[in-house]
Amino acid sequence: MIHSLFLINASGDIFLEKHWKSVVSRSVCDYFFEAQERATEPENVPPVIPTPHHYLISVLRHRIYFVAVIQSEVPPLFVIEFLHRVVDTFQDYFGVCTEAAIKDNVVVVYELLEEMLDNGFPLATESNILKELIKPPTILRTMVNTITGSTNVGEQLPTGQLSVVPWRRTGVKYTNNEAYFDVVEEIDAIIDKSGSTITAEIQGVIDACVKLTGMPDLTLSFMNPRLLDDVSFHPCVRFKRWEAERILSFIPPDGNFRLLSYHVSSQNLVAIPVYVKHNITFREGSSQGRFDLTLGPKQTMGKAVESVLVSSQLPRGVLNANLNPSQGAYTFDPVTKLLTWDVGKINPQKLPNLKGTMNLQAGASKPDENPTINIQFKIQQMAISGLKVNRLDMYGEKYKPFKGIKYMTKAGKFQVRTYQHFLMVQTSM
């Protein structure tokens, strides 16, 4: 299965290596560097690279390439999924997954990798089990360990791993029993120049933070479960009950976990919470282009649209932009031609606007293409699909837990196209 793992940073240095079987020389990464050179963008490096004796499967996250070396047939998704779990675990343990964090915690990283993969096959990838084996580093614990010489390696065999509920450790005790659920939805949409929706869909997740004593058995029901078109569950969810009653019934892991991811079918009409008025033009023969962009809320059920960030890749011919934002601040990177405008909150009374001119290279002809506009935003206390949790019940334990449910909507890949189609089909069909 997985022989070795190399971590490579953005500047192409191998800063960590780990071998589970025999040692593979790091020169194997040369093939990766070759592919990296050929790729125009960092994310364009092919995920699977064959070399004479090995195969390299990589993922790029947090600007670090995680390159797994394998020697024989294995499903690539198997390796990729595992690499992502490694990244998730690092993030879980160190808060961030950066080169510095990994280097600072190299011992914990090694201990983790040792547990997660045994002789090349994934073993303990469940965060709850790992945390029982290796306690996450905290400032306090590091200090205590230094002084007392104790360790952050757990002494007990994780009891959960052997039971029928491997995701939950036994003997959990809390003074405050709490269960929080976050319903987070992301809208992926493409809007055309005239403002009509070309495609829009909603991906949602329910992330949970459950801190309950003992072995609670929870059921979560929805007001409108029919909305959920396609779902994938944490292994704790009883699939049969979902099939039969559309109820989520589960013994939760301890702590943070993703209970459910779902998709709201594209057949349903998706409400688009923001609209964009734009006028981006270049004139033939002129070395200037006009830029005018206004954002406004739409179908937000009275909730505020926050953390709005607009970004757009301007045409290559644009030298610089001289713009004037009505609120927030904008930046234009003359090298990458990336325009970003940090808008903040949208005030429906005074709509945010960014207006001004773009300077083109002298003598260059009018750019062929108009840019697409990418928008990020957040809306608190609302799930845009209309999904509502009906109730949460607990069985198997006697105490009364504190329950909380939070909704949030975010922009996923939300793009507005500013260009017109050239008339090809419309004329003849």
Partner: protein
């Protein structure tokens, strides 16, 4: 010095004078490792791990590191293990004693035997790892799977996710050798027939169908049915595995079940590229992704891989109904800033145009419009695609050809120019006025053109010479002369060839006659097809499939057999487990194997407990043959099988020790390793001898009192699933009546403080069947009777009571002799109870004593250096308080039995029980 070495670890970049510093630093590390302070050793090991992670050589520290293998500090030990695994192979010469005996013993045949044995295990924990081992060691021994096929199918949902992937892939291969093709009917029956046949979901209906009808093997159906829920897995590899299983095994129309989940994979931001490649196969034929067409619309932020793959998919999805939507979408892509992508889109438009005749004209017009695009690569690509499109419809479009001729001057991309020239030549008779003029222009620029353009110019000249020699004779001769002296030999060759072919002379009379037929033969239209074609030769979802090359270790998927092999090989006969000490469990198993569907959670629990008890017997029997060797095997074969053992050993292994053994034993398989390591590890890992005593079963409810329902119970001595502080009690219910009993559950209990995790209500209880039910009870060390009410059919209710034997409220504990004595010294005075007993001399052998003590109390045997001293250690399950039992044999068959524990009531009761057991024996 310390800070110096530390900075070296942190910033390898600084170590430019490494060769000077390194020995010094290693000396420093060596000193630290040899010091007496644990903290220093730990610090040293941390730095060494830092070195390893940077790929630095730390092998010279091997001897110093090895010494710390028996350290008490867990973290230190773990780091030593990390080090050993890294260097054991390279440092074989440092090995103190090679263990070639192990190597000799580890033959493949034996391995297969062990795999076979482990495949039979019913635990979900083992299944995944065994199949991994199977795939690595003996993937061809498909016969080993027969008997386990149904079990694997049924366990699949509960296996850990990584194991699921391996099992599903293996079962796909298995199914292709054992079942007949469900696809052949598609050819044999017409649409309606097939529909009626397949519409029924249940097997029964299918069985009733026409005799000729293909009937799916129930096992084939079982596999399909049991993998389906896994499409909902959060693990993409699992979803992909199920998708490929359906693709390779399911009847064609059922494959569409996987669509939704696959679209989910494609949407998830992270896995997309590889997943796309795999899905491509699924897309091409079925049209099943059509409803999800818009999911494949390209976003400007997508990476180039994804853009091209999405484009491929959209092109494949295109049909008469949706083509206008797709073309409209394609138009926006042509404007993309990513020119390579724009070019790919133009090719895609070309493919749509050839595939769907209704839009050919529309596409052609659109492409012609693109000829006036400002971007050269777009224009060039359009020309190439137009050329191909025109070839498919040679009878029209002379206007397009003349339009292209007009644009010719402005086009500089060689491939595009060559394409236009070719078009001119091929259809010169349709543009009789323009073609010679183009040739005239080319004659002027011939010398500065690219080779590919020169070749096409020669080509054009030859064709015009044949059709219109009056106008072009001189021009042709001029071009042929230029070509004759060209620097490129290919062009010189071609020129010579053309000259001989077309210019009449004495020598070349025969060929000359056919010149026209050779040069102006009607050419077959090119087929515009995807670069992703022909990937179906590999199993979907594999590395080979993704790279489209056969990778090492790839297992071919066989074709369906024409006639299915005997399906009865998968029938499982009932095996009576040989367990002299647990007759009740054996009985229960026998009856249970009849219904093997783990339909509810509860039965799963039973199963887990069952299998672990069967594991007990395995390991105990093999331990007599050689504990180490057996471990070796178990460990090599299955990681989790090992982690299961601590469970039967009452869970007092620490994680790292199990882990250490696992990996180190794995090493033994391929390399020589130091024998002393193993003994050190075995010691340090404190492998407890499990307390296997004969198990006593007690009556709970007689069938006379229970109106047919009888119940027995025993203490299985396993750690409780629900809470470690509970004691499991296994209750076996038997329905001896002739009617069905309903709603059996546990009612009121006393004392009220008793915590019971009962079995769930048993809905219906058929006649004459035993079902073991596991139950766990918190004892709070109370040793009074537990009174319960067992309900049956709501009307009847029976009061029963369980007498908790005090010895069962313990769990074994491991300690060395020294530790034992140390702990014993802490528990003197009030905490010590002792009695002198008389034993017959025949019973003073240590074996008999161990057996007797273990039958009464669930304690572990502690080592003893003196022959007349026997020590046992345990902890109470509820509070973990130590219970130490020691037996000192004295002369004239008298012995001193001592119990040291804080729990004084318990001590006296235990003393009583032990006294009885030992004197009786």
């Amino acid at each position: 010095l310390t800070s110096l070495s530390f900075s070296c670890v942190r910033n390898s970049g600084i170590c430019s004078c490494k060769c000077v510093k390194q020995p010094q630093m290693n000396e420093d590390l060596k000193e630290m490792l040899e010091s007496n302070k644990e903290s220093l050793k730990l610090e040293a090991m941390k730095r060494i791990v830092g070195l390893i992670s940077k790929g630095k050589n730390a092998s010279e520290l091997f001897p110093a590191v090895v010494k710390n293998v028996a350290s008490k500090n867990i973290e230190l030990k773990k780091l030593v293990y990390v080090y050993l695994v890294r260097y054991a192979e390279e440092q074989q010469d440092l090995a103190l004693l090679s263990i070639s005996t192990f190597q000799r013993a580890l033959k493949k045949e034996q391995l297969i035997e062990v795999i076979e044995k482990l495949l039979k295990d019913k635990s979900t924990l083992v299944a995944g790892s065994v199949v991994v081992a199977f795939e690595e060691v003996c993937p061809d021994r498909i016969d080993l799977i027969h008997k386990n096929f149904r079990k694997l199918c049924n366990l699949l949902v509960d296996v850990e996710e990584w194991g699921q992937v391996v099992i599903i892939n293996m079962l796909t291969r298995y199914a292709r050798t054992q079942f007949t093709s469900p696809w052949r009917e598609d050819a044999m029956f017409d649409e309606n027939n097939e529909k009626a046949f397949y519409d029924s979901d249940s097997e029964e209906k299918k069985g009733q169908a026409d005799v000729k009808t293909y009937i799916m093997d129930p096992d084939h159906r079982l596999l399909l049915r049991n993998t389906k829920p896994l499409l909902q897995s959060r693990n993409t590899a699992v979803v992909m595995a199920v998708a490929q299983l359906y693709w390779h095994l399911a009847p064609k129309h059922e494959v569409s079940i996987v669509t939704k989940s696959l679209v989910r994979l494609l949407r998830s931001h992270r896995y997309i590229v590889v997943a796309f490649k795999h899905c491509y196969n699924l897309l091409s034929k079925q049209g099943m992704f059509e409803p999800y067409m818009k999911s494949f619309y390209v976003r400007s932020t997508d990476s180039t891989h994804i853009k091209t793959l999405k484009l491929e998919i959209l092109t494949n999805l295109a049909n008469e109904a949706n083509i206008s939507t797709i073309l409209r979408e394609f138009q926006t892509y042509v404007k993309s800033q990513d020119k390579a992508f724009a070019a790919a889109t133009i090719q895609a438009i070309g493919r749509c145009a050839t595939n769907i005749s209704e839009v050919t004209d529309t596409c052609l017009n659109g492409l012609v419009l693109l000829l006036s695009n400002r971007d050269e690569s777009v224009v060039a690509e359009s020309v190439v695609v137009i050329k191909k499109l025109l070839q498919t419809q040679p009878n029209q479009h002379s206007d397009i050809i003349s339009h292209m001729a007009k644009l010719f001057d402005n086009i500089t991309v060689p491939m595009a120019r060559a394409s236009i020239l070719w078009l001119m030549g091929e259809y010169c008779e349709r543009v009789p006025k323009i073609a010679p003029d183009v040739l005239r222009k080319m004659a002027k620029t011939f010398t500065v053109e690219e080779d590919i353009v020169k070749l096409q110019t020669v080509n054009l000249a030859a064709k015009l010479f044949l059709t219109n020699s009056k106008q072009t004779k001189l021009l042709t001769q001029y071009i042929l002369n230029l070509g004759k002296y060209d620097q490129n030999y290919d062009i010189r060759d071609r020129t010579r060839f053309i000259r001989q072919l077309i210019v009449p002379s004495e020598k070349s009379s025969t060929l000359n006659k056919y010149a026209r037929r050779i040069l102006l033969a009607s050419k077959p239209a090119p087929v515009l097809e995807s670069a992703f074609k022909d990937r179906d030769r590999f199993q979907l979802g594999t590395l080979s499939h993704s790279l489209n090359i056969k990778t090492s270790g790839y297992q071919e998927l066989s074709e369906w057999p024409a006639v299915a092999p005997d399906p009865s090989v998968r029938n499982v006969e009932v095996i009576e487990p040989v367990k002299e000490w647990a007759p009740s469990v054996g009985k229960a198993k026998q009856s249970k194997s009849e219904d093997k569907f783990y339909s509810d959670d509860e039965e799963k629990e039973e199963n887990a407990s069952d299998s672990s008890s069967s594991d007990d017997s395995d390991s105990s029997s093999s331990s007599s043959e050689g504990l180490v060797l057996c471990f070796c095997f178990l460990v090599v074969i299955t990681k989790q099988a090992f982690s299961l053992q601590p469970q039967s050993y009452q869970g007092n292994h620490t994680a790292w020790s199990g882990k250490m053994q696992r990996a180190l034993f794995f090493r033994i398989l391929s390399h020589t390793l130091i024998y002393s390591f193993i003994s050190a590890f075995l010691m340090s890992c404190q492998v407890t001898t499990p307390s296997f005593g004969p198990m006593k079963t007690f009556e709970l409810l007689h069938h006379m009192t229970g109106k047919g329902l009888s119940a027995k119970y025993h203490f299985p001595r396993q750690p409780c699933l629900y809470q470690p502080s509970m004691v499991s009690v296994q209750v076996i219910l038997t329905n001896g009546s002739d009617h069905t009993l309903e709603e059996i559950h546990v009612g009121d209990r006393s004392p009220a403080s008793l915590h019971i995790h009962c079995f769930n209500t048993i809905g219906e209880f058929l006649t004459v069947r035993s079902v073991p039910r596991c139950r766990a009870q918190d004892t709070c060390t109370s040793v009074q009777y537990w009174h319960l009410k067992l309900f049956c059919t709501k009307e009847d209710q029976f009061s029963v009571s369980i007498q908790p034997a005090v010895g069962e409220l313990l769990m074994p504990s491991t300690m060395t002799e020294a530790d034992f004595c140390k702990e014993q010294k802490k528990l003197l005075g009030m905490n010590e109870t002792s009695a002198t007993i008389t034993m017959t001399t025949a019973n003073t052998s240590s074996q008999t004593i161990n057996k007797q003590v273990l039958s009464v109390a669930n304690v572990g045997v502690a080592p003893s250096s003196q022959n007349n001293f026997h020590r046992f250690a345990g902890r109470t399950v509820s509070s973990g308080a130590l219970v130490l039992v020691s037996l000192e044999l004295k002369e004239s068959s008298s012995a001193l039995l001592t119990i040291n524990t804080e729990k004084s009531i318990m001590a006296s009761m235990l003393l009583q029980d032990l006294k009885q057991a030992l004197t009786e024996a």
